[in-house]
């Protein structure tokens, strides 16, 4: 039998994810009198955004690697106070692998700690604040050691105080690149260039959304200032179209792109580096939500996100969402949405100021998503032998053959024909690329288990749930 974290008595609210959205929701809900259980895969609250070194690493100033640290520090203190008062049960190192309806509420199944113990948490309401992972577009050489996700480089720096190399190129698309380049440079790396596939002039058509968000403009100025201070070149409408090296990356080819993101022939030049940090925005992590049947939408950035109303309700009664699960929008929006969700779940009116902030920040997120949405021409930098699925080592050739000759029209059929997306990561890294090669927008992620679960834990489930 799984352990029950609450002796069978449902909590008022179970929050999945202790990043900005989940943390803000949990402490606000507890402020409003709810009994909250906060489950998180991480060891310490904060999620990927506020990831920081373990206490044993003895960082005297972990906040120097962070933006808006005060917003986190106040919520972390509130979490501690609520936890000691018994209003929040914080369950770190708990990976929730499914949520199922149970009676009038919901039941969350998790595996906990290094021994992957089974834990079941019954709840009257659930808030999914599971965040996002990075969207990757393949290019020749992207499987070489030293080629890493831009967010991955940031995570390793914030959490482990390490760099992948000394001379790093940062590439892809989206504002995260500027933040990553700034922190890599601050931590002692030489950032050879920031290579951005979009053109910042794409924001010009969306001035109202920009002008309503002076905070975001200030943030952009901060990142721009950091690039200037470190003497970093920013190349817009350019992409890394190939990584070179034998055992690890030694250089990259940077080429100019046209408006559709097609590489312009003859513009490629080699930039020496010993690491490449690359990413093209974020993909909301939705397995738990799609498993419950929550409705989804295609965001302006081309990624599938949850459909939520102004009160953060999903289409499934009793299930709320906040933060990146509802579409990439950044930490400030995640905090606001977490608080809105908490008010609604507690049956309270949503303070008008929160509603206004949400509308303003969501408008900015839409503008940003549209500006950095990958152009269809990116497939122009692929070669037939470029690996698309990293896990199953499936190159472009067989995928194009499945689409062209065998009639595959979506990522699922390509998977059945080629094994692309069938490996350890279950298509998280290659999904958007495979969908694009099949000529489709991505489908909502459907994975019955949102993380690895030992078979013995499944075998232990009571018969009526299995």
């Amino acid at each position: 039998m799984p352990n029950s974290a609450s002796d069978g008595v449902p909590c008022d609210l179970a929050v999945v994810g202790a990043g900005p959205a989940g943390l803000a929701a949990a402490v606000t809900a507890a402020d409003l009198g709810l009994n909250v259980t906060l489950l998180d895969a991480g060891e310490r609250p904060g999620g990927q955004y506020y990831r920081r070194p373990a206490p044993d690493l003895g960082a005297a100033r972990p906040e120097v690697l962070h933006h808006d640290w005060a917003a986190f520090a106040t919520r972390k203190a509130a979490l501690r106070a609520h936890a000691s008062a018994g209003r929040i049960t914080h369950l770190p190192l708990h990976h929730v692998w499914t949520v199922v309806p149970a009676g009038a509420g919901l039941l969350l199944h998790a595996v906990a700690g290094p021994e992957e113990e089974a834990v079941a948490v019954p709840a009257r309401a659930v808030l999914l604040a599971t965040g996002a992972f990075e969207r990757q577009l393949p290019f020749p050489g992207w499987t070489l050691p030293g080629v890493i996700g831009a967010g991955g480089a940031q995570a390793m720096l914030k959490g482990g105080l390490v760099l992948p190399g000394r001379r790093i190129v940062v590439a892809g698309s989206g504002p995260l690149l500027l933040a990553v380049a700034g922190s890599l440079a601050a931590a002692g790396a030489t950032v050879a260039a920031v290579v951005e596939a979009a053109a910042y002039t794409a924001y010009a058509g969306r001035l109202p959304a920009l002008l309503r968000n002076p905070g975001k403009l200030g943030e952009a100025a901060t990142y721009g200032g950091a690039l200037l201070r470190h003497g970093i070149r920013l190349l817009t409408r350019h992409a890394v179209t190939e990584a070179h090296g034998a055992e690890r990356v030694e250089a990259v080819t940077v080429a100019r792109l046209d408006r559709q993101w097609r590489p312009v022939p003859g513009t490629g030049r080699r930039v020496p580096c010993d690491a490449l940090a690359v990413g093209h925005g974020l993909v909301p992590q939705l397995e738990l939500a799609t498993g419950l049947g929550c409705a989804t939408r295609l965001g302006a950035d081309g990624a599938v996100a949850l459909e939520v109303d102004a009160r953060q309700r999903t289409s499934v009664p009793g299930v709320w969402s906040a933060g990146e699960t509802g579409g990439t929008g950044g930490a400030r929006l995640a905090l606001v949405e977490g608080e809105i969700a908490a008010h609604t779940i507690a049956g309270r009116p949503v303070p008008a100021a929160l509603g206004r902030q949400r509308a303003r920040l969501r408008a900015f997120a839409e503008a940003m998503g549209a500006a950095h949405r990958p152009g269809a021409g990116w497939t122009g930098w692929l070669r037939e032998d470029t690996e698309v699925c990293r896990c199953e080592e499936v190159p472009v050739g067989p995928i194009r053959e499945a689409v062209r000759d065998l009639g595959a029209r979506d990522a699922r059929t390509v998977k059945l024909l080629t094994r692309a997306g069938m490996g350890w990561c279950q298509g998280r890294m290659c999904g958007p690329a495979v969908a694009a090669l099949a000529g489709r927008d991505p489908d909502p992620d459907r994975r019955p288990l949102s993380c690895p679960v030992p078979l013995r834990r499944l075998a232990e489930l009571p018969a009526e749930e299995s």
Partner: protein, 125 residues
């Protein structure tokens, strides 16, 4: 032992940046010192590690970027996503294969070995 009044303690904040220039390393940027350092065994080598690091961070800190070879092509791999999603950084620790190095804390006395293929060569699969 350094305290707030220690005259040898370097100045902090903007003054420090002016006097010393930009940080030379992540450790230099965040200051402080790990509570302990130890030796991690990796493929017969001894690598320095700081308490509180993941296996992946300890290996990166020692300049090691790859610790797995793929099933089909035997290609080298290491960290890619850095947050547990991609499974590229699978590693064998103390004989147990298929652990995600980016999520697994490094412990003193750990023996880390490059994982080949599925990590289960003994099964012949």
């Amino acid at each position: 032992m350094t305290g707030p009044t220690d005259p040898d303690r370097p100045p902090r904040g903007p003054l420090r940046r002016l006097l010393r220039g930009p940080a030379r390393s992540p450790r230099d940027l965040v200051g402080g010192a790990p509570r302990a350092t130890y030796v991690l065994r990796f493929d017969g080598r001894e690598l320095p590690a700081s308490a509180g690091q993941s296996i992946a961070a300890a290996l990166w800190g020692a300049g090691v970027l790859a610790w797995r070879t793929t099933r089909e092509n035997g290609a080298p791999r290491g960290v890619f996503c850095g947050i547990g999603s991609c499974h590229d950084c699978l590693v064998t620790v103390n004989g147990r294969p298929n652990l995600r190095a980016c999520l697994t804390p490094a412990r003193p006395g750990d023996t880390v070995t490059t994982q080949e293929g599925t990590g289960r060569a003994e099964l012949g699969v």
